[in-house]
Symmetry: C2
């Protein structure tokens, strides 16, 4: 009899660590992902803001797992899970060049780890996505970079001062870590990187706003660090607007209203901000794959698991990462890389135990710390209970992120990019590529 077959859906932090933790286990593993690369998502905003190349923060999943002989990697999208038949229905994702990938097939499993993650959520307004791209994949980051750089180019060509101001206005929706990091990087681009590049516009006159619906930015950090981050943002010229709910996004800008106002009669009408570039950093939605499971989901569409990460009533099914709704000490676990990695490892360990007939262990998250970077030489964080800020926080952030990056080569490349950028204040990857109308020319 052959070894039990474990399918892992998703090659992000959760899925990849689950696959690695099954090295040497008496199982056959198949890891599915829609992309051929594992992405170091915490640094994706640096691709979107022209500091790093896509290749610096992504590695082919096959390559990462090339020496682990019990793993097979498939470039495929999981379309549906049939819990009864214990099958994953897969489909191709890139019909353009290789229609063969488009054939739908079913794969049978003995154990399934769902690590399918999350995507952007537009609060029920999918039509906003066209005007306000989010940041989940490399293609998203290249699109953001394209829009940001094109806005400056368009402003340089624009004779009308009002329109020029609109072109140089950047709105970031959401004041979490991604929103703050994007805003800080945009502030640096406008005030430092592009200083000498233009003749008709002054990039440093750009307006950069964060619209945050809640009463604070970086809600997961202590108030003192929130304050420190806010001051660092303001030094870069970023306006932070709290309690500001976005009620509309179109090709000319955004509409927003104060959170207290509501839609009550007599409340002031939403205000408009004219902006060419709107970046979405406001929320995530669980992968729609969860719905095909037919198991109870929470309001955010995530799967409620046992503390062992197993789904009640389905001893062969584990859910990890952003898709897993698990509370610890009464608090929901945050949707961050560290939680996903530790959960992936735990799910793998529990599959080993299940095969060996041992009792499963309960997942326990160890919080090593949370950080956010605002700009060159400026970051905040709480690490092992200690608060960090400013240059020291930034140096710590740099070390940790280089250490975490997958692959020796990526570490060297990213380190040298950052060192160069730190001293020159330049961003090397200011390329406008990824035109959506690509075609072979003649």
């Amino acid at each position: 009899m052959s070894d039990p077959h474990v399918i892992i859906i998703g090659g992000g932090f959760g899925g990849l660590d689950a696959a690695r933790a099954l090295a040497g286990a008496p199982v056959r593993v198949t890891l599915l992902d829609r992309h051929n690369y594992h992405l170091f998502q915490p640094l994706l905003y640096q691709v979107a803001t022209a500091s790093l190349s896509p290749g610096d923060i992504a590695s082919p999943i096959r390559w990462i797992l090339r020496r682990q002989r019990n793993v097979e990697v498939l470039l495929a999208e999981a379309k549906r899970i049939d819990l009864e038949a214990r099958q994953v229905v897969i489909d191709g994702v890139e019909p353009h060049a290789a229609p063969e990938l488009g054939k739908a097939t079913s794969l049978s499993y003995d154990y399934l780890i769902v690590a399918a993650g999350s995507s952007h959520a537009y609060f029920g307004h999918p039509e906003w996505s066209e005007y306000a791209p989010g940041l989940k994949t490399l293609d998203d980051a290249i699109e953001m970079r394209r829009r940001v750089l094109l806005a400056f180019e368009a402003a340089e060509r624009e004779p009308d001062p009002a329109e020029q101001r609109r072109l140089l206005t950047f709105v970031i929706v959401g004041g979490g870590a991604t929103g703050v990091e994007l805003a800080g990087a945009l502030g640096e681009i406008a005030r430092k990187t592009l200083r000498q590049d233009f003749r008709r516009i002054r990039p440093e006159s750009s307006r950069i706003l964060i619209l945050e619906g809640g009463p604070v930015i970086l809600a997961q950090f202590p108030p003192a660090l929130q304050q420190s981050a806010r001051e660092a943002l303001e030094r870069l010229g970023v306006e932070v607007r709290l309690n500001s709910i976005v009620t509309g996004v179109d090709d000319r800008g955004v509409l927003w209203r104060h959170a207290a106002g509501g839609a009550a009669p007599g409340a002031p009408p939403p205000e408009r901000i004219d902006a060419e570039t709107v970046l979405w950093a406001a929320g995530v939605a669980a992968s729609p794959l969860a719905q095909s499971l037919g198991v109870p989901l929470d309001r955010a569409g995530r799967v409620a698991t046992e503390a062992t990460l197993r789904v009640p009533g389905h001893p062969e099914l584990f859910v990890v990462g952003d898709l897993c709704a698990l509370k610890q000490d009464g608090q929901p676990l945050p949707a961050v890389a560290q939680v996903a990695k530790q959960e992936g490892k735990c799910a793998a360990e529990n599959i080993r135990r299940a095969i060996a007939g041992q009792p499963l262990k309960a997942f326990r998250y160890r919080d090593y710390g949370t950080m956010a970077v605002i700009g060159r030489g400026s970051a905040i964080g709480v690490v092992a209970g200690v608060k960090l800020a400013g240059l020291f926080g930034w140096l710590f952030w740099v070390s940790v992120h280089i250490f975490w990056l997958i692959g020796f080569r990526n570490r060297i490349a990213v380190f040298s990019e950052w060192a160069w950028a730190y001293f020159t204040m330049q961003r090397r990857v200011r390329l406008i590529t990824g035109d959506r109308s690509w075609r072979g020319s003649d």
Copy 2:
């Protein structure tokens, strides 16, 4: 009276060197390009074959020229030239994110340097372009990389052995420098880079063919070096087919016939090669902009200039680079970077002379050498009349190309990529990105 206005169309080797050579001259310069970056085109095949990142071989034109105060850079496409009115009609190129760039405008000039280059030519069959992408822009290179990597992924998922063979067949049309360099790099990817990555296919069993219409590959090199290149290609498993004319390209492969056969009655019908991936390296066509000039063009659509690079009858109009048809000692000058750079400089010098009322000088090309690289540790070249081959040729090629690259930072990045790749035989940038159906997801 303000300084005369010089417009340069194109930020490639010719246009960029013309702009630089006008530093400090009593002129206002406007440089137009459709892209925001200057591309080091001789290394584009390394992006297409996952060795280098786009950011390694491209730099923003604004950044390169940021300190030259008499130059203004515009991201714009020159649509038409009105020689009578001395105007260039420009248009935007990126209508998606910044519709403002789409406004057509006219710019007046006193002097015009046309350095608009060339694009792929499909021998009158533009419909082939969909199936056989060429290599001119970064987006082209990312598309090639996507197709090559997807072909291996599709083969891994394909149960039918015949179809698997088709997926692992790569046809390169054209045996010039680009075709040979692409084929050599593909041979290395199949035989070295991907060796450990797959479980069901053996990438080293891939078939890689060069179809060359003429009787030799690398026609510009001496026969001994052609032979040496051919042997190096064969060591990498590349099949070279000479005198092989492509008569059709579709989504299943290519049709070809022997050059001697012709379409004569009784000639054997074209043969089919089943291949998923067809890469076009066969020919270039002059930029269609030349047609709008209304001046005599040669058969290839290029502008016949005087030896001063000036167009007869138009003392204010200069043409340089691939678009310029100039002969030296009875031989047409090749469409290579060195010719374009030297012509750009000469045109700028002649504009300075024209303004100063001095006689113009005739262009004289100094051939510093030509090289082509076949793979790791293997290149051929003729430099100052000396033939180079093998490892020594490769080391020379590496030094020269790093020296030529624009920007200190790019040099370091490319050097470290190559050093790493040389010792590990890996290619770091194996990312499948640039899906044409990009859209913000929800």
